[in-house]
């Protein structure tokens, strides 16, 4: 009993440390990467490569005045940031990092992740409503309508892959991809739809309609400051890491070794190297998609809201539906 609790605690601490540790680096890369893409320098003063800038920012967030607007709904206002980090972190926990590290091993891992991504809407809508501010409300409404619209095409793309894999278990999915091909080769269209939908899911550019400095200022977290804002900010990045990891698991073989690595492992003949290299390939794949997030953000202009809805409902939805039917037929006849 005690050891079980200890293991559980260790897992919680691990996932927490992982997310909290990865986010500052992502933010650092977001800022410096954007600078490089625009011919600027970015924050480069504090520490090596400006890495300590994030530490300074964190300290600032901690010591800023914690302010609650007078006419807000106090309980919900405080509840929203309190639960903001939970869904993405819980979803990350159920993704296998390598064949040895799989924190929450369920045979319905895909469903669990979908359920938690669905929950991501709650902190947003709560914060928007509880702040009692027009802009926050509009931002929250935008974010939620966008999340719901793109969740449909995302799930369709996901379903078409599940037809191929025939399981909800993420480890099984990865094993299937190790034995056959990566999901992206089996069904590139689903991968593309899923990838586009992840941007809408995480409210990232070019779909960051939940924020808009010129029309609704900062959107749903407009009334939040100090650490409460930082938590929203962090949850966005954790959600990005989460969807990248999910995308990698579904379409890019998860922790399956990158081409060439299996040769290195078998040549060295050391069995313990396998999980290390698996972890490394998983990390590289997720890092690539995190880089894509930054790259897309600083390359593409944002959509207008009606264009966003048009893309979601008139293009991605029929496309993913047709793709699902096609994959269903293919899976039926090949079985």
């Amino acid at each position: 009993m005690v050891t079980e609790m200890m293991v559980l605690l260790a897992k919680v601490v691990f996932i927490f440390a992982l997310c909290i540790g990865a986010v500052p680096f992502c933010v650092w890369f977001e800022r410096r990467g954007s600078a490089w893409m625009q011919g600027r320098l970015g924050p480069n003063r504090l520490g090596p490569f400006g890495l300590f800038q994030l530490v300074a920012d964190m300290i600032k967030f901690f010591f800023k005045e914690s302010f609650i607007p007078q006419n807000s709904h106090k309980f919900l206002y405080l509840l929203a940031p309190a639960i903001a980090l939970v869904p993405p972190m819980a979803a990350i926990a159920s993704i296998p990092f390598c064949s040895e590290i799989h924190l929450v091993n369920l045979n319905v891992g895909v469903l669990l992740i979908l359920a938690f991504t669905g929950l991501e809407i709650y902190p947003i809508i709560l914060s928007g409503w509880a702040s009692n501010n027009k802009y926050s409300m509009l931002g929250a409404l935008r974010a939620s309508s966008q999340l719901i619209s793109y969740e449909i095409s995302m799930s369709m793309a996901l379903l078409s892959m599940l037809l191929v894999y025939g399981t909800f278990d993420l480890t099984e999915i990865i094993r299937y991809q190790q034995e056959h091909h990566w999901g992206v080769l089996l069904n590139p269209l689903a991968a593309l739809i899923f990838w586009v939908a992840t941007y809408a899911e995480t409210n990232r550019l070019p779909f960051d309609l939940a924020e808009g400095d010129s029309e609704i200022v900062a959107g749903y977290h407009l009334e939040y400051g100090a650490m409460k804002f930082a938590i929203f900010f962090m949850s966005e990045y954790v959600a990005m890491i989460m969807v990248s990891a999910f995308l990698v698991t579904l379409f890019f073989g998860g922790y399956a070794l990158l081409p060439g690595m299996s040769w290195v492992v078998s040549a060295s003949g050391k069995a313990f190297l396998l999980p290390v290299f698996e972890l490394f390939s998983f990390f590289l794949k997720v890092a690539f998609f995190m880089f894509l997030f930054v790259w897309v953000r600083w390359s593409l202009p944002r959509f207008r809201f009606d264009q966003l809805m048009h893309l979601g409902w008139n293009i991605l939805f029929p496309l993913s539906l047709a793709n699902l039917l096609l994959m269903g037929a293919v899976a039926y006849f090949l079985r």
Binding site: G33, A35, W36, M37, G39, R40, W295, V296, S299, L300
Partner: protein, 171 residues
Amino acid sequence: MSTGNIKTTNVSRPYTWKERLYLLTIPKGFLVTLRYFIRGFFLRKSNTISYPEERRNYSERFRGMHFISLDENKLENCTACYLCQTVCPAKCITITAEERDPKENPVGVAKEKRPKAFDIDALRCCFCGMCEEACPKDAIKMSRNYELAVHTREMAMYDLKHLSREVKNRG
């Protein structure tokens, strides 16, 4: 309100199918940002000037903080003729003239008159350079110093002492 027979013409061009597809044009934009990313990340090049350490070299004609030029005896060239005060569109120059003490005047008649006080309100000045143009003695000049920030309003009132500081080659 009657609109009469006004016809409106739609001048916007319909999108071609390539533009409508959107996906084909995206890689172009990606390549541009990728090129800059490589330039910044691997080649460490950027267009930023890290200001306090690096400074931009402005043109020779740059109009910055005023100064009054001195002759070889460290006497200011100004003869308090009031031309600059008259021409200044912002009315920010205030001069008080007096006779120079003959004992400490080695150049004699050329510099009999001198400014007792010469104040420029830099907060009102629009840096048009008219004073510099008007001056018959090439006395008031504008340096290339563009760091004009000060801590108090009083520090932005340039007095004679401040103006007749030594500025080499317009700074």
